[in-house]
């Protein structure tokens, strides 16, 4: 392997791993803030128990999310220094703003939140939870501002041998960002919903003694999951249309559509054959792809081979086709998992609307195992959006192979690739161990009422 391949693998591994935890932080921070707020408004002690119980699980996640987050910020300079030189004038700013605006807020207030249960009134403590949630979710806006620039560069000019920022507000107004951020934000909400539902289902299955707060949690999770996934799917649909217009190669690869079609048919199951620039097997639904893109059964959708020719004219000779097999299937898994979650969240929501609902053990098991669905959907979504942009690191401006560090040798890159992978593998063992331990607790265990002396 060369430095390029190793650096790409390392980026993929540390980033996808980091993003196992990020959506939980995004969604759970809001969920916990809501629980604390309901407790303040209603005085229902169950919600305080819930905030504490889910808060513990949230913190186990938060620690490893923060820890693996530092790598994210450093690795552009470490492994992608030529990228950093060429794009730093634009790309560095949102990262610095993310730290100044979001990380300080999130990290300072989470510390006060953890240690402040008995130092603040319930109202004050709920305010802290909201500040943590605000900080976390603000950070998503800024890192996605940076990522959106890589997908759809705006507000820049080529000068002094690099890309320079000429319009900061164009960066923030990037249309890509305002599809991507809500998509990510609501996938965080979905993630939290399924996390809460899954663990609550386990307790109902095991008939935990104090089941009431878990039933409330189940209902809470179903609502979060359903609201989240409806928006994810809805926004995802328009995001796809936007991508077809701005990154036609990405969406053609997502559909394994080699030749331009009008009306275009949607593929249900394809085995792309990249060497021969066609599919070796494909089942299609006529007209549907046009419908998905233009809301009517007609309309031209560009194929991979046609876009390739266009790009050769525009950017010079070269291979502009991403890995179609990977793009096609990661996209399909993402969409498939999304609709599966929509179905599950809808059914659970309908079933849990009544105050004293019951669930069959078989259904509880399904809900429990659904805990992994958001992670699968989100990870494949990210892998799709990054690999289907290739060969570009910044679309149309810089190729991935141009971005790597010249100072890093194969040996050094391999050392860190193996080092991070082994370290992360070990850490997940401990994380899961603690998650299991704390997820299995009854909410009354370890629970301290507000004034122990008066209780």
């Amino acid at each position: 392997m060369d430095v390029l391949a190793i650096s790409r693998w390392q980026f993929a591994i540390v980033t996808v791993y980091h993003f196992f935890f990020v959506p939980i932080t995004l969604g759970m921070s809001i969920s916990i803030a809501i629980m604390e707020t309901i407790y303040v408004k209603t005085g229902n002690e169950n919600y305080r128990k819930m905030a504490k119980f889910w808060g513990k699980l949230f913190l186990i996640n938060f620690a490893i999310g923060v820890a693996t987050g530092i790598v994210q910020e450093f690795q552009f300079g470490m492994n992608w220094s030529e990228y950093s030189r060429f794009m730093g004038d634009i790309f560095g700013a949102p990262l610095a703003i993310e730290a100044l605006l979001a990380f300080y807020m999130e990290s300072t207030f989470i510390g006060i939140w953890i240690f402040g249960w008995n130092k603040f009134s319930p109202k004050g403590h709920a305010a802290l939870a909201w500040l943590v949630a605000l900080g976390s979710n603000l950070s998503a806006i800024w890192i996605l501002t940076a990522n959106s620039f890589m997908q759809e560069p705006v507000g820049y000019a080529l000068a002094n041998g690099r890309a320079e920022m000429v319009d900061f507000f164009a960066l923030i107004a990037n249309h890509h960002l305002w599809y991507q951020f809500p998509h990510v934000f609501f996938s965080g909400i979905t993630q939290a919903g399924f996390f809460i539902m899954g663990i609550s289902a386990w307790h109902m299955l095991k008939k935990t003694k104090n089941i009431e707060p878990f039933k409330i949690s189940m209902r809470f999770g179903a609502k979060a999951g359903l609201i989240g996934i409806i928006f994810v799917v809805f926004i995802g649909h328009f995001q796809g249309q936007h991508l077809t217009a701005h990154q036609p190669m990405k969406m053609a690869a997502a559909e394994a559509l080699w030749e331009t079609e009008n009306p275009a048919s949607m593929s249900l199951f394809a085995i792309p054959d990249q060497a021969n620039l066609k599919n070796s097997f494909n089942i299609t639904l006529p007209n549907i792809l046009s419908f998905l893109n233009y809301n009517k059964f007609k309309g031209e959708v560009k194929g991979i081979n046609n876009v390739q020719k266009e790009y050769e004219k525009k950017y010079g000779p070269g291979d502009y086709i991403p890995n179609v097999l990977g793009s096609y299937w990661t996209f399909r898994i993402m969409v498939g998992v999304g609709f599966l979650m929509l179905l599950i969240a809808f059914i659970v929501y309908m079933k849990t609307r009544k105050e004293n609902f019951e669930c069959k053990p078989f259904n509880l098991k399904i809900i429990f195992y659904s805990i992994f669905l958001p992670t699968i959907g989100i990870s494949t979504g990210w892998i799709f959006t990054e690999i289907a942009r290739q060969p570009w690191i910044v679309f149309g401006l810089m190729k991935t192979e141009q971005g790597i560090s010249k100072a890093v040798s194969v040996g050094e890159a391999l050392t860190t690739l193996i080092g991070f992978t082994v370290l992360y593998a070990i850490l997940i063992v401990f994380t899961v161990q603690l998650w299991k331990k704390y997820a299995k607790k009854d909410m009354d265990e370890d629970y301290e009422p507000i004034n122990p002396s008066e209780a």
Binding site: I70, A99, Y104, F168, A407
Partner: protein, 337 residues
């Protein structure tokens, strides 16, 4: 003053914040396995920085982000050049962060003490490697015409670099011990003060060696003349004084003085560098400066607005977080971690 200089100063401020705050965090982390008699005392130690370490670490993240935004070439050269040390530092920071949150979540002493070893290791590695890195940045490293570091890993482990590393470790140990003597009460505090007193002399000796070595190994007179003496001298004076105040049981003043030591050392480092940011030992022509390594004037302008608006808020709420948890911890305190 031009925007490049403004941002050089802001980067200096971010590193001051980082070394001042995480300096005592790392010191506390390194002392943890050695000064506590039992698990309760260990928990007291960890809980002194419990609410703060995460917020303190953001100073490093922000310094990294600000470097990227304001001086992309500096960020690119430094981070790709010091590749393996940074990797080791990241490993240290990762295990340390996870350890704080996980160590008290199981009852087994073996589990807890193993995580404490990770807290020690992470704190030690990070302190050591920053010392090594800072010393090498001042001394100059092989950098070619394309602003690429060409020295490899072992080039960084020269005597001056290593002395820098050891100095940071000892200094942070002392800074951390003084911090603990301020944050812990009861009988345990007496033992901590004793430890701090023992650490004072080694840190004075290392600081003096490091400062003297700097004058012999790093060319700073030619550019700065006698003014280059001022910040290191102030650092040395504060460090010496902090020991005396510790002896007369004024831990508060002593802590202010160790903090000033860290501040002046950081100022000395950046003042020595200015207007360079990375010195090339290959040829002075290849030096990275605040001008040839910087972002565009437009980006610097945008970032100046952003920092100008946000930094005051950050200072206020971080300071407030210390006021909220200002009480000394004793055996009877409620321990979260």
């Amino acid at each position: 003053m031009d925007l490049n200089t403004v941002w050089f100063i802001l980067i200096t401020v971010l590193f001051i914040g980082y070394f001042f705050l995480e300096g005592f965090d790392y010191g506390v982390g390194m002392l943890l396995p050695f000064i506590a008699k039992d698990d309760t005392e260990r928990r007291m130690i960890i809980n002194t920085i419990g609410p703060h370490w995460d917020g303190n670490e953001v100073w490093l993240l922000t310094a990294g982000g600000a470097l990227f935004a304001a001086f992309p070439e500096w960020y690119a050269t430094l981070f790709s050049g010091f590749y393996l040390p940074l990797f080791l530092m990241l490993v240290g920071l990762i295990v340390r962060a996870v350890a704080f949150e996980y160590r008290s979540k199981e009852d087994s002493l073996k589990w807890r003490y193993n995580w404490d070893r990770m807290i020690f290791l992470g704190s030690f590695l990070t302190a050591l490697l920053w010392g090594v890195a800072i010393a090498n940045i001042m001394r100059g490293t092989p950098i070619d015409a394309t602003k690429t570091y060409t020295g490899g890993f072992f080039n960084l482990l020269n005597p001056y670099g290593l002395i820098g590393g050891v100095t940071f470790v000892v200094l942070f140990l002392f800074h951390g011990a003084v911090f603990l003597s301020l944050k812990i009460g009861g009988e345990f505090q007496k033992r901590i003060v004793e430890t701090a007193q023992k650490l004072w002399l080694p840190s004075v000796i290392m600081a003096v060696i490091f400062i003297l070595y700097t004058y012999f190994d790093v060319d700073i007179f030619s550019a700065k003349g006698l003014s280059a003496f001022v910040p290191p001298l102030l650092a040395a004076v504060s460090l010496v004084l902090s020991g005396f105040y510790l002896k007369s049981n004024k831990a508060g003043i002593s802590f202010i003085l160790t903090s000033l030591t860290v501040v002046f050392i950081t100022v000395a480092v950046f003042f020595t560098l200015y207007p360079n940011v990375m010195i090339s030992s290959t040829s002075p022509e290849y030096n990275l400066t605040i001008y040839n390594a910087s972002a565009s004037q437009y980006t610097l302008g945008v970032m100046t607005w952003v920092a100008g608006i946000l930094v005051p808020f950050i200072l206020v709420y971080q300071a407030w977080s210390y006021i909220v948890f200002k009480k000394r911890l004793t055996k009877d305190s409620e321990l979260e971690y």
